[in-house]
Amino acid sequence: MNNTEMTPSSTPWFFACQVGDVPRNGGVCVKRGTEQIALFHFARTDSWYATENLCPHRRQMALSRGMTGSAGEMQEPKVACPFHKKSFSLLSGKCLSGEHYQIKVYPVKVEAGNVYIGKDPIRQDIDASGEYLECAS
């Protein structure tokens, strides 16, 4: 899969927080103007993911407080909303609980102990093979 297609090199980044501010295997909420971004760290694989903080099911600003985990053979990373446990893929932003919700996912990069989140969401169109887009990490 062509990585540059999903994460254009021109993506402007913004500083979110320091690595140590995010709990192991959990999330925090990052404020960017009036936007709320949920940022997650998976300690086992040292992977970072970011999504919008809003759970589309009941429109609650809560995903950053959800339990993270993985699903399926491929151990696809996910988060479960604390309100009604709707799960979302952190790769594709798709709802994994059988409903047609879609949340925005953002690229994340770590440099010198600082965590940066892309200002623009990753394109969510999925290619014909149905594979998930990979997140920069």
Binding site: A16, N25, Q60, T68, S70, Q75, P82
Partner: protein, 840 residues
């Protein structure tokens, strides 16, 4: 290709088609079906539900497309009019003439109309088909009084329909001295009568109807004794007559009481003609139920197929059918099986009669006391399936006959026969003729759920009465295979909760990540994380947010508060036993006012404060803790409250000080993590003001001490707690609770309340009593010591949280703007307080 013509498209006619399609080699037969009615075969057993809105389409057994897809020519609204046995042809009303190799008569029956003057008048109906029902419903508008002629099975069904249509007064007229004379003995009939009368039906027995009154339209009926009853409508449902006229015209022999005479293979005198269902007379008997009809269809199909094969297979024969039946008449259970009428010279009787609740049961038992010969049940028939198996399989009865009469208690195994004891040939589904062996085979082939079993064996698709047995048989079969039904907690752990408990304890694991690394895979999920975290907390009782284990907690545990609509949290300090000082009440008032919180008294005798911002939680708790409060664990799967009545210190009835004991109990078990939340209560006397019998463990004062009740709960499926031990002193009572809770913690499935746990526990409350009171496992002292060790580790989680800067840091909404609250949380005013804005 052989040509088969089926005359009649009722339930049995359809069943014949279904079975032939399933069993015959494709392309070996061509079927043509003639039906008199304009719609394809429908479920006549549940005809009455048509009145309540079940559509004709829903009652249909198979659509016209089904017949078409199997190459069956279906001619509806075109009854056969003539059979020419020499030419082997059938001529229909519309003039079709077709030849056959095999002819199947499935013409069914018609309502029997007794010889009463004036039955042709407007407003007199029979109750047999959907068209009949349409006519009845059409006429019923404006009808205030209706009579049903016939107090048997069909008549009472029709009476139910009258009630459902909304007719003010419905009379049931029966010629015999009692209702359901073929199924019930005198007392059974009388009990049914009083139950139906209580439901508003007006029952008249010993009434011989003479004529229908009225000019052209019915105004009433007159009886032979010259009494009269004024009614606006009459529905006749006194029995059935076999539709044998076509066969008789063709010269086939018919029975003395009607019906086309058939042999054990369902063949008539003419080897090319079969008759099945209610039009057939087998051994002089006409069977007016659907199950024997289905059996006849099966026999005919196998005979037709084998007759044209040369194989020497064992022939399936129809040898009569058990007419046992169970049904619900207008909300009243009625069952009759075997020979219900056996007199004292032929059988011994076990009779139970409860006039208060209208329950009557009679069992006829062989003179040697060993076998069940028949019986009657009115008002309560939950044991019917069990009893029928004893009867049909000629099984030895247990010594404790009361277990056959009384319905089993929840959680108790039936004291009599288990399904394990049934022979393989026992018929489980009599509608479809499915045996125990068929069902076990289906389960062994991988059809493990009731739905799959239904699909593959058809068991449970008729009356549905055997569905609970299907479920139990599946469980028994799976157990025999060594398969547990809920084996793994989720995709990340191939262990049960009980196995993980042992692993965590033995290996001294203290964090979710350790457990995942050693025994699981992937990154875990929202199912296994809370389970494992709860186990770790149950075993070590360490403050749950330490050990890097905070993000493995369930969402509410992670922030030590319950998240509410909108994203704010609730604050619930512990108020043991519901006792609180005026000073503490003032503190709650002051804090709630300062942080603008909504306050409410809870069902568990404490005070909830709602609408706290995440970042305010540590500040709020700091003030509460300074005033002497502790966490109330309202967010945890742990002890919630121990409710109490005011007890002997104030109450003039109180036997002991229930408040002091409740406070002692609540302080003892506070912070204990359990598979699900647990609640308790202590009442000072049997008036039970604390509602202890609705709790996971409840205590009630007696003259001599305390009675301990366990495994009750409110919630969506309320269940009363059961008495575990009586007249205990306080220390023994606490020891038993220790053992009870440890046993529950160690063995329950995830998120299982004590009531559900007990329901699944083999041996039920009796076994639990053996474990806890009699210490049959020899674990009592060990568990008490374990509990003691857990409880000694108690610390207030909120005190620990606000004193630990690392933990405290997590209580902010924005990681990069910790001082700011979530701007999306909205409140609106309501009754002098606030509430959260509605979901968007």
């Amino acid at each position: 290709m052989k040509k088969i013509i089926v005359i009649g498209n009722g339930m049995v006619g359809y069943k014949f088609c279904e079975k032939l399609v399933a069993k015959a080699v494709k392309g070996s037969y061509h079927m043509t079906v003639f039906g008199e009615e304009s719609r394809p075969a429908y479920d006549r057993v549940h005809l009455t539900s048509y009145i309540n809105g079940t559509s004709a389409a829903e009652l249909t057994l198979a659509s016209e497309a089904w017949y078409e897809s199997h190459g069956i020519d279906l001619h509806l609204g075109d009854p056969a009019r003539k059979i020419d046995r020499t030419a082997k042809t059938v001529v229909t009303e519309k003039g079709l003439e077709l030849t056959y190799d095999i002819l199947v008569m499935a013409t069914g029956s018609a309502a029997m109309v007794p010889p009463i003057h004036g039955v042709e008048k407007t407003g007199v109906f029979v109750y047999r088909t959907i068209d009949d029902l349409d006519k009845i419903v059409g006429y019923a508008a404006g009808v205030k009084k209706a009579a049903v002629l016939g107090g048997g099975l069909l008549g009472l069904e029709a009476a139910k329909a009258m009630v459902d249509i909304g007719i003010e007064k419905t009379y049931v007229i029966e010629f015999a001295p009692k209702l359901m004379p073929r199924q019930l003995d005198d007392t059974g009939g009388a009990v049914l009568r009083s139950k139906l009368s209580a439901l508003g039906l007006r029952v008249h027995t010993r009434k011989h109807t003479y004529q229908v009154l009225g000019k052209d339209r019915i105004t009433g009926i007159q009886f032979v004794d010259e009494s009269e009853l004024s009614v606006d409508m009459l529905v006749i449902s006194t029995g059935i007559n076999a539709r044998d006229e076509l066969a008789r015209d063709a010269g086939l022999p018919t029975g003395t009481r009607g019906g086309i005479v058939v042999d054990d293979t369902m063949r008539t005198e003419d080897p090319a003609i079969y008759a099945i269902g209610e039009c057939a007379a087998h051994g002089g008997m006409i069977y007016g139920l659907v199950a024997p009809g289905y059996d006849m269809a099966e026999v005919a199909v196998t005979h037709i197929i084998m007759h044209h094969l040369d194989g020497e297979k064992k022939q399936r024969l129809f040898t009569g059918f058990d007419m046992s039946t169970k049904l619900k008449l207008i909300g009243v259970d009625v069952a009759s099986f075997g020979d219900p009428f056996l007199t004292a010279d032929k059988a011994q009787h076990v009779i139970y009669e409860d006039k208060v609740n209208g329950i009557y049961k009679r069992l006829n038992i062989s003179l040697d006391g060993k076998y069940l010969l028949g019986g009657v049940m009115v008002g309560e028939a939950s044991q019917y399936n069990n009893l029928l198996q004893y009867y049909k399989n000629n099984m030895l009865l247990p010594n404790a006959l009361e277990s056959l009469v009384f319905s089993e208690q929840k959680g108790d195994k039936p004291a009599g026969m288990g399904l394990e004891g049934l022979p393989d040939g026992a018929l489980i589904c009599s509608c479809e003729g499915v045996t125990k062996a068929d069902i076990c085979q289906a389960v062994n082939d991988g059809h493990e759920s009731v739905d799959e079993i239904k699909k593959c064996t058809k068991a449970g698709t008729g009356c549905g009465g055997c569905v609970p047995m299907l479920k139990d048989l599946a469980a028994i079969t799976l157990k025999a295979q060594g398969k547990a039904i809920h084996m793994e907690i989720c995709e990340h752990f191939t262990y049960t909760r009980q196995q993980l408990y042992d692993l965590i304890k033995l290996e001294h694991l203290r964090a979710y990540d350790e457990v995942l690394e050693k025994h699981g895979k992937g990154d875990g999920c929202e199912v296994c994380k809370p389970v494992v975290s709860s186990l770790i907390a149950s075993i070590s009782n360490e403050m749950i947010l330490r050990q890097n284990n905070d993000t493995a907690q369930d969402s509410n545990d992670r922030f030590l508060a319950n998240i509410q609509k909108g994203g704010s949290y609730s604050v619930v300090p512990r108020i043991p036993g519901g006792e609180i000082t005026p000073d503490k009440l003032l503190t709650i008032g002051t804090v709630a006012k300062k942080y603008n919180l909504y306050t409410k008294i809870t069902g568990g005798q404490r005070i909830d404060m709602f609408g706290a911002h995440l970042s305010d939680l540590p500040l709020i708790w700091k003030e509460l803790i300074d005033a002497g409060f502790e966490s109330g664990h309202a967010y945890g799967k742990s002890l919630r409250t121990v409710k109490s009545c005011v007890g002997s210190t104030w109450c003039r009835f109180g036997l002991h000080d229930s408040v002091s004991f409740a406070i002692k109990i609540e302080n003892r078990y506070k912070g204990l993590r359990t598979p699900h939340k647990i609640k308790s209560a202590v009442s000072g006397c049997i008036r039970e003001c604390a509602e202890a019998q609705s709790k996971d463990f409840g205590i009630i004062a007696t003259e001599k001490g305390w009675n301990l009740y366990v495994c009750g709960n409110g919630g969506s499926k309320p269940q009363h707690a059961l008495l575990l031990a009586q007249d205990l002193d306080s220390d023994t009572c606490i020891r038993y609770i220790d053992r009870f809770l440890m046993y529950y913690i160690k063995t329950a499935d995830p998120l299982t309340r004590t009531a559900t746990w007990l329901n699944k526990l083999e041996g039920g409350i009796d076994y639990l009593r053996k474990v806890v009171v009699e210490d049959c496992l020899g674990k009592g002292l060990e568990w008490e010591a374990e509990m003691q060790a857990i409880l000694e580790h108690y610390e207030c989680e909120w005190k620990a949280a606000i004193e630990d800067p690392v933990i405290r840091k997590r209580f902010s909404h924005f990681v990069n703007a910790p001082e700011e609250r979530d701007p999306t949380i909205e409140f609106v005013a309501m009754r002098d307080q606030k509430r959260v804005a509605e979901w968007q």
